[in-house]
Symmetry: C2
Subunit: 672 residues, 2 copies
């Protein structure tokens, strides 16, 4: 197994069923056993809202980031008890708070189904037929796997279409909050410090999974390392990186750089200002907007980093050189040469994708999205599972309904603000005089229309949603709910755009399958595929870096947090919570707080456990620095670093700041 | 003189040389004498940074808004003495602070030069020739008027091109700060309350103009009304509304609605986020970004209000009906019918304008703008004054150099942030591979390039700017300054775009001249032209309005400010300054604070004096409510209101809160 030609240093988000054992042995003298890998894999948990986590006790304790749990912390908060602001601690299981709609997945098996999927989609099919055929075979595989095992079963597209693997998960839907610190320390430094380093964040919280109303029995969980890592120790990160685009051709990269990312940034800035403005209305509105606002700001800063990477001539030159080397190898081989047509195909889809930017209907809000989902579900359910849009296939129905019937609060005033703006945006994108826009407005201004829709809908009530869903297509056809009526008006256009993008995606899958085939031939099959929000192993030493002529150390400590506060003279996001100030004299200031490593991560890895060679927990991934963001397109270990909370900081805070003796006891002694 | 057909209620920003005397008599039983109008006109002052003001003492005291003076307050501030935050009071003339680059203009004469301008631009000219001919005749008129009188002389285009008037101003360039309150009370409620009502803002500050290092002797100034207005009293507003677009055809309106305003909003949101992010770096950075950030937020909210107006089917229907009525009248008259071709011409320019959106070069920063101005000035000065771009003609040279040689602080770190972003924006708009973009980058990333440019330029020094300017075209050609070199690279493209827009503007001027001609024929010449940042008179009663079923009173009082603070529980912009809290028990809480009237205003009117029939000062315009913003396109008095600080509130605060006995003495007794 040769070291892949285009993989540098500690690059790689490796599949658990294709770990780079030789590379690990050569570089770190470490050979992961099957048991080591299996234990780590099964100790990991995926948060379906978009994050990673791990089991840390046999009774179902789950450790993740505060910013991964925040969706739930937000939903569990009320004007009277804002958990986001004041934190939470259950002193006993009875006090744990049940999340309204969390689903956690534990990966238990991976199976290669490439032959079956590829066999169903032959070269003779049109793109339209290929979309249907691929959809059908995947739905069949997932349904029969679910029926056989009872496990949540999902076929994942790897290498952009080069491989298909079936992932099977044990699913937990009764998830309860055990502990969360205050946002002031979890996100210390706020938006300004986000994606920066050095950092001082306790970006952690703890949930517990239940089965049959009892703490679930968990066989595989991570034990605590006694001291965490030393400088230059290799750190292993096991989590679910969301999406990378390293396989992208230069044409696809240029589309991202010149069209897609600028477009997305524009949308994000618009949302950010909108949510800020709503939050200015009052403290309660600021609370209501807080979670969405964090998400938007986080995305905006991440995308800006990605875009800045692509606007750096050096990054582009590296990328172009890698593409040229691959194309040279392809063109030098008569057997591979026909695969080069893939580049042309992708060039064509980027042109069509550019035309679609802003062409659709931007109308959205939580309640509108529910209405549209009800409309589409009723339509799709008239077809056999295999022919439906994938999210409505039988295998995923439970997860779909858990979201649709969530009792999480929805705020009418915020709904109205978002709906107004999204209607206005639709007018701006399509032109006010567009007939669909006129149908959407129905003679009113966006604000008047949104007010009428939100005031008039019954979908705030979960019971109403269930009733509509139970009534099927007849209930939709006869509904007088204004939001359902609006969703029916908009639905055909949403479907039209969806059909086009499905076909573009299919065309790209076929092209990237060819590129993957070429790469396997040139580099061997020991490479890793782009991130797909499935479990991967990354690794690299704990080591600092140089920036603007300064050496950035690998570590910060708890004492540094207090210094960081002083340096910022009480600026908004630099005020430590009262609990920390109270505990200051008792805290061991030299306790390591945050640290960096070269392990290759991306959004979705948030909450990933970091372990040592012994498989012990040494940290908790919560961020990458600014320089890591162009890793979406190309990895570099020069300055790019993943950022973790040190395991010792979590224990120190639990014990000294939060008095969470119950949790500390349950975790057991470190190093044992 | 019939009442203009399309003018409703208190609509109108009337020319001082064409006041609606009959209308005023009919509606308010008031006949302004020549002296009344002349005194008011000469008591008014224009702030060339974009605002209005009035003389309030014979020794040159000038009253305007805090947010009009803020450009200067910002420039006079330092990290150690932040006048924006803590306010300012000169106890004696020696303590007054000289503004680094303010120019104030007092209008003293208006002359109709339509015949001369129109005579120089005949129908036989091409658009290109017409641009040059109009430029030349205007430069000639302005220069000879300046030479004759020594007065600043500016030809203003009225009715979109239907009339040309020469405005002559006494110019003040030695302007000193006398008093400013804290931003916390000047802009109480911040961005959230901006364009809202009821309000509680002391948006006022006082300057003094000097001549020969002594307070200027001022013949015409406003005396203080004893009690201010009563409900339903007519209020007169005399100030410089910046720009309205009421003459716009429906095609021009649709271009604004579907293309231009959405584009501008996108740019504003981008700047807003950029400045916010920079401000998060620290307290000093927040201070540095503050003034620009306010400007951007104010524009963003104003434009959103305008756009929302145009996205309201009812507003559009009103506008379309008015256009149809005018077109029907034109088409019914054989003599007028040929003028209808103007609509087609404007339809064509909107298409070309849409193509130009985002086509230019977005690169900017204060220092880059200075570099570009030096490059263009050197080029233009090789031509006779009449052939130059208007801003470089002889008549305006003094004002140009006052800005170019301003000693106002420029912050390198902020420059770098703005330059980086504006280079990135240029890449996004034109595509990274565009040859000009590659020349701009010179092989570096936008951030690296901006750092190199700002580190390398000498233009931070005013002496260097003067030296370059004195060296003329040779100094530019041989300059090694990296910003001047960059400006030379970008200049040809800036000029290319400028030439196109100049021609589109000329085409529109000719078209709107036809529309104006038709309107004069249909409505008579007693109408008022769109706003042009020249002195106008507006009027209307002090009266509340209904909103969401609630009656909004015309008045607030000082006590209300304290209640408003309490209701917002210490939210960021709702904290009254310490000076007000200290003075609370001494303040007369029933003193009227802010009030609304139906007078027709728009941005640029900020700082306008509001006077009663006796010509006494009763208030100070500082805002319009959200509903007034669509007044850019069409006036309504249903809910649209102008918002003023009450004259009594200013006196009460000066006396009780700020102990400004010296100022109060100088103002004299109210009502005398």
């Amino acid at each position: 197994m040769p070291t892949p030609r285009f993989v540098r240093a500690d690059e790689g988000m490796w599949l658990f069923n294709n770990l780079p054992t030789k590379l690990l042995k050569e570089r770190y003298g470490f050979e992961p056993t099957k048991d080591w890998a299996d234990h780590l894999m099964k100790s990991c948990v995926r948060f379906n809202v978009g994050g990673s986590a791990s089991f840390i006790s046999s009774s179902g304790l789950v450790l993740t980031n505060h910013h991964v749990g925040s969706d739930t912390l937000y939903k569990l908060s009320t004007p009277e008890r804002n958990i986001m602001e004041v934190g939470f601690l259950a002193q006993s299981p009875e006090q744990e708070l049940k999340a309204p709609d969390l689903e956690l997945n534990q990966l238990v098996a991976i199976k290669d189904v490439t032959a079956e999927v590829k066999g169903a989609v032959t070269d003779s099919l049109t793109t339209e037929q290929a979309v249907a055929a691929r959809r059908a075979v995947i739905a069949r595989i997932e349904k029969s796997a679910l029926d056989e095992t009872g496990l949540k079963s999902t076929v994942t597209t790897l290498y952009g279409g080069g491989r298909y693997h079936l992932y099977q998960y044990r699913k937990f839907t009764d998830v309860r909050l055990v502990w969360a610190p205050e946002t002031a320390i979890a996100f210390f430094g706020g938006d300004a410090d986000n994606f920066e380093y050095p950092r001082y964040c306790l970006d952690a919280c703890i949930f517990r999974v239940y089965e049959n109303d009892k703490p679930a029995k968990i066989e595989h969980f991570l034990k605590w390392s006694e001291n965490g890592p030393q400088e230059n120790d290799v750190a292993f990160v096991s989590g679910n990186p969301g999406r990378t685009s390293r396989i992208f051709t230069m044409d696809a990269i240029k589309y991202q750089r010149d069209r897609f990312l600028p477009y997305v940034m524009t949308q994000l800035r618009r949302q950010e200002i909108l949510l800020q403005q709503y939050g200015l209305r009052g403290k309660e509105q600021a609370r209501r907007a807080r979670d969405d606002l964090f998400g938007v700001q986080n995305s905006r800063k991440a995308r800006l980093g990605m875009l800045a990477g692509l606007q750096d001539p050096q990054v582009l030159a590296d990328k172009a050189a890698a593409e040229k080397a691959l194309l040279d190898a392809i063109n030098a081989s008569p057997k591979l040469k026909p695969l080069a047509s893939a580049w042309q195909s992708i060039s064509e889809t980027t042109v069509k994708r550019a035309e679609l930017l802003g062409a659709g209907v931007a109308v959205h809000s939580q309640l509108f999205n529910i209405a549209l989902e009800l409309v589409q579900m009723a339509e799709e359910d008239q077809k056999p599972s295999e022919e439906r849009l994938p999210q409505f296939a039988d295998a995923g129905r439970e997860s779909l309904l858990q979201q649709l019937y969530s009792e999480a609060p929805i705020y009418s005033d915020l709904e109205q603000v978002i709906l107004t703006d999204s209607i206005a945006k639709t007018l701006e994108q399509r032109g006010f005089d567009d007939p669909l826009c006129q149908d959407i407005l129905a003679g009113k201004s966006p604000a008047e229309r949104a007010a009428e829709l939100i005031d008039g809908t019954g979908l705030l009530s979960v019971e109403v949603r269930k009733k509509v869903a139970a009534g099927g297509i007849e209930a939709i056809n006869s509904s007088h709910d204004p939001l359902i009526q609006l969703a029916k008006i908009i639905n055909p256009e949403v479907r039209r755009i969806r059909t086009i993008t499905d076909q573009l995606d299919e065309q790209d899958k076929q092209a990237y399958a060819k590129i993957a085939e070429a790469r396997f031939a040139v580099e061997g099959t020991s490479s890793y595929p782009d991130a797909t929000f499935t479990l991967r192993l990354a690794f690299g030493p704990v080591v600092g870096y140089e920036q603007d002529g300064r050496q950035i150390p690998a570590w910060t400590d708890i004492g540094g947090a207090f210094e960081h506060e002083q340096q910022h003279q009480g600026q908004a996001d630099y005020v430590l919570p009262a609990s920390w100030k109270k505990a200051e004299s008792k805290l061991k200031k030299s306790t390591p707080f945050n640290f960096v490593s070269t392990a290759d991560i991306i959004g979705g890895n948030s909450g990933s456990p970091v372990v040592n060679r012994a498989g012990e927990l040494i940290g908790l991934i919560f961020d990458g620095n600014i320089q890591s963001l162009s890793g979406n397109y190309i990895y570099s270990d020069k300055q790019a670093r993943s950022v973790s909370v040190h395991s010792s900081a979590i224990r120190e805070a639990l014990q000294v700041v939060y008095g969470a003796d119950n949790i500390v006891r349950e975790l057991g002694k470190p190093g044992q």
